[in-house]
């Protein structure tokens, strides 16, 4: 494999907690020793439940926040070693798409101005070429060029997310991080935006990091998947392998909990423990149906090459139940659905 576009090395980020007098009282261990790399032109999904550290990891990767320990390499270059000016120049290569398109667009800026802003900021094209570039970007995300003159509030949630995507793409970034980019959207609109993202990733050769709690969405666009639990990676593998043969009991529990697959396994018990005082040993042992003495005592290392998992028992676990189930609607439903051609636009 060629040199990764993005490489996270042993990242750690604790958020200190203070009492009313400002004294330190422990810390939220948001990200605790995560190493990951993202190959050029691929999609890595980071999945996990709330508080697992996936959003913090995304912000660390863009150096929007500073890690306590560890480094972020972008095209082999350590982002922490860059001067402020050099980092600003680098920013055009890295963009972020947020969950909430209502919050991420400035209501006082026309759509065209919002998309043009990064063009000016990074002096990407002369002013004279701006309008044409904005129109091209709007069309690229399935909106009409006239949208440039309108205001964010005139658009639906799905359209606003398209605008946010156009803005993120304006500077021709090499890396885009999407933090729950389709989670706020209704199913029918979500499908349009998922299809759009898949097209853009393919057509523009984007490297994409998808932060998501939705395994269905992840299955549709990710090449590799990293599963986090309480600030640590528990498993990382090619999407195909992770869904077909998950090794970590937590990954298996996540897959089993996805609704719509029949109620086969009893649900995982209990809540996620506090990231302020995570359990010793394997952090998942308090909820793991397989836990043994060693799991309570020793932190398991992430082992394996292309398919890595952090579980003491991974070689002894029973095989994961098979995923594939015949869809009840069968061939008839597939034929009917073929009439719902993915369209470019909801404009």
């Amino acid at each position: 494999m060629s040199e990764p576009l993005l490489e996270l090395r042993n990242l750690r980020k604790y958020f200190p907690l203070r009492d009313a007098l400002g004294r330190r009282r422990g810390a939220v261990r948001a990200v605790d020793g995560v190493s990951l790399s993202v190959a050029r032109g691929t999609v890595l999904a980071i999945v996990g439940e709330s508080g697992c550290g996936k959003s913090t990891l995304g912000r660390l990767a863009l150096r929007l926040i500073e890690p306590d320990v560890g480094s972020v390499l972008f095209e082999g270059e350590d982002l922490r070693a860059l001067s402020p000016a050099a980092l600003r120049a680098r920013r055009r290569d890295m963009q972020l798409i947020f969950q909430d398109p209502f919050a991420s667009l400035d209501p006082r800026m026309t759509v065209g101005a919002a998309i043009a802003e990064p063009l000016r900021l990074h002096r990407i094209i002369p002013r004279s070429g701006e309008a044409a570039r904005v129109a091209e970007l709007l069309e690229r995300v399935g909106l009409r060029p006239e949208a440039a003159r309108r205001w964010p509030h005139e658009f639906s949630g799905g359209q606003r997310q398209r605008i946010a995507i156009a803005r993120a793409l304006a500077s021709n970034p090499r890396l885009v991080i999407g933090d729950e980019p389709v989670s706020a959207l209704d199913v029918s609109v979500q499908a349009q935006v998922v299809n759009l993202l898949a097209d853009l990733i393919r057509d523009l050769g984007l490297t994409f990091v998808l932060i998501s709690h939705d395994l269905g969405v992840v299955r549709h666009i990710a090449d590799r998947v990293a599963v986090m639990y309480l600030g640590s990676l528990v498993e990382e593998a090619p999407a195909e392998a992770l869904f077909a043969a998950p090794r970590h009991p937590y990954t298996r529990a996540l897959l089993a909990a996805v609704p719509g697959r029949g109620l086969r396994a009893p649900p995982l018990e209990g809540d996620v423990p506090s990231p302020i005082a995570p359990p010793p040993g394997c952090r998942f042992h308090t909820r793991c149906p397989h836990a043994e003495a060693i799991c309570r005592e020793q932190v398991p290392a992430l082992t394996g090459e292309a398919h890595r998992a952090a579980c003491h028992l991974q070689d002894r676990l029973p095989p994961a139940p098979p995923l594939r189930e015949a869809e009840p609607g069968g061939e008839r439903l597939r034929r009917l659905q073929s009439f719902f051609q993915p369209a470019g636009s909801d404009a």
């Binding site: 439940e49 029918s188 349009q192 269905g216 549709h220 009840p328 439903l333 009917l336 051609q341 993915p342």
Partner: protein
């Protein structure tokens, strides 16, 4: 029948004119069964639930019939609704934090319901509250009963809501997106708990959700709503095996599944209509790949097989495939 709704219509007065959020909705739920109402934002599923609980806001006008165990409720006074809510009808909402009172402990809030409706004494009510918390599998229930909502996790707060809803053994439980705010592993726990309690108490359950996967796993019957109307109504197994409304077909294809790999999702073009200016005839027609000239007239909800009705001129959809 525990709940029978007939031709329900709800119209809101708004600054921009009357908005008919629910238009001609009919369904029924038997004891011990779960009926799911599924649809996207603005389809009218939550307004239908609020109507069935007598909780519509003041600017809403209701017509049609809501029968609870044979008794007409649509014309009842607020005082009568209040008497029945909590006792005969109970509800669980999406966000337990906003439905629980932050100033009282979990145990006190459940005990309050018992004192009000069952006329239990203070001590007996609190003991029953602890038993109920234990019943909804809150570990260490006696200690948790003395804690405030902010000291509990999201999953535990939802369990408290369920304990409160079940306190007076209601005949009808309405759950409006009860797990939407929860993580997927906790969601599975809460839905399993609701199933178990339904089996045990024989209550009828109306489950409002946007998630077809939840419908597949937990519902006996389904109503699919679109833009205020019923698009399709069927036993759950039939809806998935043989959907007969184009919207249902599109929705099934648009929901990303973990089986089957990175295929393209079905895409329903466009967006839901503005209910202040709904399209004439079939409201789904502007987004429907099977639309024709006849769709300018509103299709009636008609049976395609026993218990399975759809509001589509093209049904049964096999004719589309044969064409």
């Amino acid at each position: 029948m525990v709940l029978e709704i007939r031709d329900l219509a709800v119209t809101f007065r708004t600054d921009r004119g009357p908005l008919r959020a629910v238009d001609g909705v009919s369904f029924a739920v038997e004891a011990g069964r779960t009926l799911a109402i599924v649809g996207e934002s603005g389809c009218g599923k939550s307004v239908t639930a609020l109507a069935a609980m007598g909780l519509l806001p003041g600017n809403a006008r209701l017509s049609g019939s809501i029968r609870l165990r044979g008794r007409e409720m649509a014309t009842l006074a607020q005082a009568e609704w209040r008497r029945r809510r909590g006792r005969e009808i109970a509800m669980v909402f999406q966000e337990p934090m906003t439905s629980l009172n932050p100033a009282f402990t979990a145990g006190e809030q459940i005990a309050e319901v018992l004192r009000l409706h069952e006329r239990l004494g203070e001590r007996a009510a609190f003991d029953r509250a602890i038993a109920l918390l234990d019943r909804v599998r809150i570990p260490d229930a006696a200690r948790r009963a003395r804690q405030y909502p902010h000291q509990l996790s999201g999953g535990m707060r939802q369990r408290v809501m369920i304990a409160m809803a079940l306190a007076c053994r209601p005949r009808l439980l309405i759950a409006d997106e009860p797990t939407t705010a929860l993580d997927v592993t906790v969601q599975a726990q809460i839905l399993a708990l609701l199933d178990e309690l339904k089996r045990e108490t024989g209550a009828a359950v109306v489950l409002i959700t946007h998630d077809l996967g939840i419908v597949a796993d937990h519902a006996d019957d389904v109503v699919v709503m679109y833009a205020g109307r019923v698009a399709e109504r069927a036993p759950a197994a039939r809806l998935f095996a043989r959907p007969e409304h184009p919207y249902t077909v599109g929705l099934l294809g648009a929901a990303p599944r973990i089986e089957g790999g990175p295929s393209r999702l079905a895409s329903i073009e466009g967006t839901v209509p503005d209910l202040l200016r709904p399209p004439e005839g079939c409201r789904f027609a502007p987004r429907c790949p099977f639309r024709g000239a006849d769709c300018i007239r509103q299709p009636p909800l008609a049976e395609v097989e026993p218990g399975h009705a759809t509001a589509c001129w093209r049904a049964p959809l096999d004719r589309v495939l044969a064409a």
